[in-house]
Every structure is written in C-alpha cells, then in structure tokens.
C-alpha cells in the first residue's frame, strides 16, 4: 500500500519480537463472533492517477463559480480570496498539527489563534473571542445555551428574520435541553423585527434575545430597542453578524451585545458546498468563563519570554466532563487561520474596501433590477450586500433559464415560504459588466 512503509521482512521481524507468527495473531483478544469475515463492500484500491481522474469526473458534473456568474448568498458568498491563503494554510506544520496541547512545540498555531482572537475582538468590539466554532449556526445555538446558563433561564427570543437554517439548528440544540423559543414577528413593511409588537413578549423570562445583522433578507435591524428591552429584563443581547458588514457597521460591542457570533465563510474561505468554514464566538470579560470552546492566552515561558498557551481549560469537556460549558473539542482552526491571513493581507483599508464595494455594487444592482417592470422592493429597511426582490414569476424556472446564460441567479425564497421573493447577493467579486449583463438577461426572461 502506498502509505504503509513496513516491508514484509520488517513485518515478520516485528511479529517475531512479539512471539507471534502472523498478523491475525494480533487480533486474538477479539472473540470469533465479533470478527468480520470477508471483504468490506467498498471500491478500490485506486492509484493516485485513477483517483484524480475519478475526482475530476465528479467535479466535472458540477457547475462552479468559475464557470458561472453567481448572485447566490444566504450564508455562503462568492468573495475574492487572496492567493496567498492557500499557500500558507497548506504548510505542513499548520495543516498536519493537532490541537496545540504542548505549547512549547506549537507556538506557531497558538500565536496565530491569539492573532485571530484579537481580530475577532476588533471586528465585533467585544473583549474576548474563542478559537472558533463549527459554523455560524451552531455557534448561535451555543450562544443561546450559554445565555441560559448565565441567566439561569430557559427561554430565548429569536427574530423571525433569522436565517431559516439557523433557526432550525438553534431549535435542534435547544429542544434537547427543553429550552423554549419565542419568535419576534417581522414587520411587513420594513422587513425587520416588528418593534411595535415587542410588548407582549416574555422578556422577564428570557435568557437572551437574538438579532441577526443584517437579517436573512439582507436588511439592517434596529438593535437599540431590543438591547434596551432585554437588558432591562436582565437578559443578554446575542448578535449574529456578518463579518464583512462589520467593516462599515457599528460594532456589536458598541451596541451593547453580550455575546456575538457569526459565520466566517466570507473571510477568505472557499464556498466548498457549504463547508468547512468556521463560526466565531465573542463575549465580554464578565462572561468568559461560560464561553464554549478553546481559547488561547498570553503568558511567559521559564525565561520570561512571551509565549502563548491554551487557557481557561477547566471550562472544557476534557476536564469538566458533564459539567463542561459545551462538548465541543475539535473546532475549525485551519479555517480560522485562513481568516487571520485574509484579514492581515486585506488590512485596515482593504477590509473596509471589501465592505464598501459590496454595498455599492449591491445597491447598484438593486436599483437596476427595480427598473424592470414587474419587479419591486418588498421591504423598506436599508440593505448591505443582499436584498430581496418581489416579482410574480416562477423564480426556480427563471433560474434554470439563467443557467443557460451562464448565471447563477438569486435564491428563490419559495422554499422558505415566500413564493414571490428572490434573494440576491452581490459581492466585490462581481463587475459592473456582469451586473449589467445579468440585469438585461433577466429583463429579457421576465418580459
């Protein structure tokens, strides 16, 4: 086998050193009725060349964003990815390392996580960040559970404007711990949380209120009123944010958030059919001992030199077992590293440029689309990189025809209960030409 280095002679020598004759003798502790007889029903073995051919065939059956011009978003985005990221994360010392449990020989990973934590704090305006979570949705679920533990309450208030898949994930996590969920309705005109209908909600029992910013429909929520309500009731404000939007928007920390989560795919990660990217998780100093996941801290070595180390580990499963703040162990460290490189090479100005270009290009496309007769804007609240458009057409069918023209259209929201809406996303990767071509193609298809 390609990856098994032992020669036949070495194998025999090693068996002999154990007083054994054949490989099967190693399995003598396994009772006969437990042994599997025969061959596993899996294909192979394939040589490297055959494997590459097979993967090319599979990949060739997909249409990807290098062949299509994409306006799809809703949680995964076609942003520009600087070339250096893949070269750095491909380095064996990063790629093939385990969790940095031995700090003296893992300073590279530890320091990069410390830098990552600092960047997440800068983006979110929070005081502490962990080393990453699986994704944004599960990070939000964990944030809700943390809020319940911190407040000793068993109810959370979610916005109806939260991404439906995130709603589903939060529901899965929370119902297993018998935590109730109450929804804040969407305002029909603004498309954001209906601030006129907050009075009836069970604030006094709520561990937290969640706000997604921008919300699922790409709209900017007014956070101040929700913050006032929940803090008055001694609950926590949890914000689920799009990291790119934080280049322009007021930070959640400034808005008074207690826990901030989000999905990091936008920060230099491949779309990869939805994974792996990473979730980020940030909070206040006051709450750090309730935070799930790994965290890196600064300290010194025996000679007094700066060093980094996994810290506050008593929160975690390998020490506290059933009393841990979460069961999370593996996270998405390499993706967090990619984001760290992304934010470094974009830098202060470059990162702002990304947000600014997304906003301007999305705004331009929205204006152009709304010039098409039959299309209208369903909501009045301001938008950032995504926006919904209303039109009495079969968006799934339209998208099929757009594909023939080389476009991946917006996401038809019929699957989420809005048959006449479609959600477009426009990143800095789109050009004016692509937008203009798309608008004129769509105009042709609708008329």
């Amino acid at each position: 086998m390609r990856y098994l280095p032992l020669t036949k002679d070495e194998q025999q020598e090693m068996l002999a050193s154990l007083g054994l004759e054949k490989i099967e003798d190693l399995f003598q502790d396994i009772p006969a009725e437990a042994m599997f007889q025969g061959d596993l029903d899996v294909p192979g073995p394939l040589s490297e060349a055959e494997l590459v051919r097979h993967f090319r065939e599979l990949a060739g059956k997909n249409k990807d964003a290098t062949q299509l011009v994409s306006f799809l978003g809703a949680g995964a985005y076609d942003h520009l990815i600087p070339s250096i990221i893949k070269h750095i994360v491909g380095r064996g010392e990063f790629l093939t390392a385990y969790t940095p449990y031995q700090p003296e020989i893992t300073q590279g990973v530890l320091q990069s996580i410390f830098e990552y934590q600092t960047m997440i704090c800068e983006l979110t305006g929070m005081e502490a960040s962990n080393a990453s979570m699986y994704d944004g949705a599960s990070a939000l679920a964990e944030a809700c559970l943390m809020a319940c533990a911190a407040t000793k309450r068993e109810l959370v208030i979610l916005p109806a404007t939260l991404h439906p898949e995130w709603q589903a994930v939060v529901r899965t996590y929370l119902e297993n711990q018998d935590v109730s969920i109450v929804f804040m309705p969407q305002h029909a005109e603004t498309g954001t949380v209906d601030l006129d209908r907050l009075a009836d909600l069970p604030w006094a029992e709520a561990a937290c209120v969640v706000v997604q910013q921008p919300n699922f429909f790409g709209l900017l929520e007014d956070v101040a009123a929700l913050k006032a309500r929940i803090h008055e009731a001694k609950g926590l404000l949890v914000m689920a944010v799009d990291p790119i939007s934080l280049s322009l928007l007021k930070s959640p920390g400034e808005l008074g958030a207690d826990i901030v989560v989000g999905d990091g795919q936008s920060l230099g990660q491949a779309m990869g059919y939805g994974g792996p990217a990473f979730g980020f998780f940030a909070t206040t100093d006051k709450l750090i001992r309730r935070m799930p996941g790994r965290v890196v801290g600064e300290t010194v070595d025996a000679e007094g030199k700066r060093a980094f180390v996994l810290t506050l580990q008593t929160r975690e499963q390998h020490i506290r077992r059933e009393k841990a703040t979460s069961n999370i162990c593996s996270n998405q460290a390499l993706n967090a590293l990619a984001a760290t490189i992304y934010l470094s090479v974009l830098g202060k100005q470059g990162f702002r440029d990304v947000g600014y270009q997304c906003l301007q290009k999305a705004s331009y496309m929205k204006q152009r689309l709304l010039e098409i007769p039959g299309l209208s804007s369903p909501f009045s609240a301001p938008t950032f990189r995504e926006f919904a458009v209303r039109g009495q057409v079969d968006w799934v069918e339209i998208n099929k025809r757009l594909l023939d023209h080389g476009f991946l259209g917006g996401l038809p929201l019929a699957r989420f209960g809005h048959p006449d809406l479609v959600l477009f996303s426009v990143t800095e990767a789109r050009t004016k030409q692509e937008i203009d071509d798309f608008v004129s193609t769509l105009r042709g298809l609708i008329q």
Binding site: R289, Q313, T314, I319, R320, K323
Partner: protein, 125 residues
C-alpha cells in the same frame, strides 16, 4: 480556648469562633491541586448544606469542589482570592482562607480531626 483548628477527611480546615466557622483547604490539599488559578466563590448570604460542594477550586487542568463541613449561611468570602487565587497556594491556612459560615447554634464539629489526628490521617492517604 475559643478558637480551634480542625480538619476534615476531604482536606478542608475549619476554624471555629463561636458560631462562625472559617473554612480553607489544607497545605496537603493545595500541594496536591497544584497552582490554583481560579476560585469560584459562593455569594455572601448563600445557604450551604453540610456535605455540599459550595465552592470550586480550579487549577490549570483540574477542578475540585470544597465541601461544607457544616450547614449554615455564608457571611463572608475571601474576596482577595478573586484577583489572587495563588494565596491558597502561598498561605493556605491564613491568607488563603475561603469562606466564613454562620451556623445556627453551636457548630457540630465533634467528628472532625485535630491537627495531630489529621497528620496521622495523611500518613494513610
């Protein structure tokens, strides 16, 4: 003598002053736990039951509960431990005290060990 220092089998020490019982952990215990990095103190006013773990001591890679040797109300906590948990390592019997509990009536500490008895007990641990 109005004050006497006694020990529990869980390696806490107990100093009785009237109906107030001051509690900490023994020198042996702090040595076993290693560097204490965080003390999760109870709040003044909390009621604790005898045998209940009312406070968690965290070292880098372990968490240990401190058990209440008596039932009563927490009337004082050593707030210095919040910023300097290492006091438990440096001065377990003095500056590293943890809480004071007020009991109703006379503290029932008859089955606790004296210093000599505890020294004997440690030999068997």
């Amino acid at each position: 003598m109005s004050e006497k220092l006694l020990y529990t089998k869980e390696h806490e020490w107990v100093l009785v002053k009237g109906n107030i019982v001051r509690i900490g952990i023994s020198d042996y215990a702090q040595n076993e736990l290693g560097d204490i990095v965080f003390v999760d103190l109870p709040s003044v006013g909390d009621w604790v039951e005898e045998g209940e773990g009312f406070c968690a001591l965290e070292s880098v890679k372990a968490v240990s509960d401190v058990y209440a040797p008596v039932s009563g109300k927490v009337v004082a906590v050593n707030e210095e431990l919040e910023d300097s948990p290492e006091l438990i390592n440096e001065s377990p019997l003095d500056k590293g005290w943890i809480v004071e509990i007020e009991v109703e009536g006379t503290p029932q500490v008859g089955d606790l060990m004296s210093e000599q008895e505890y020294a004997e007990y440690l030999k068997g641990v």
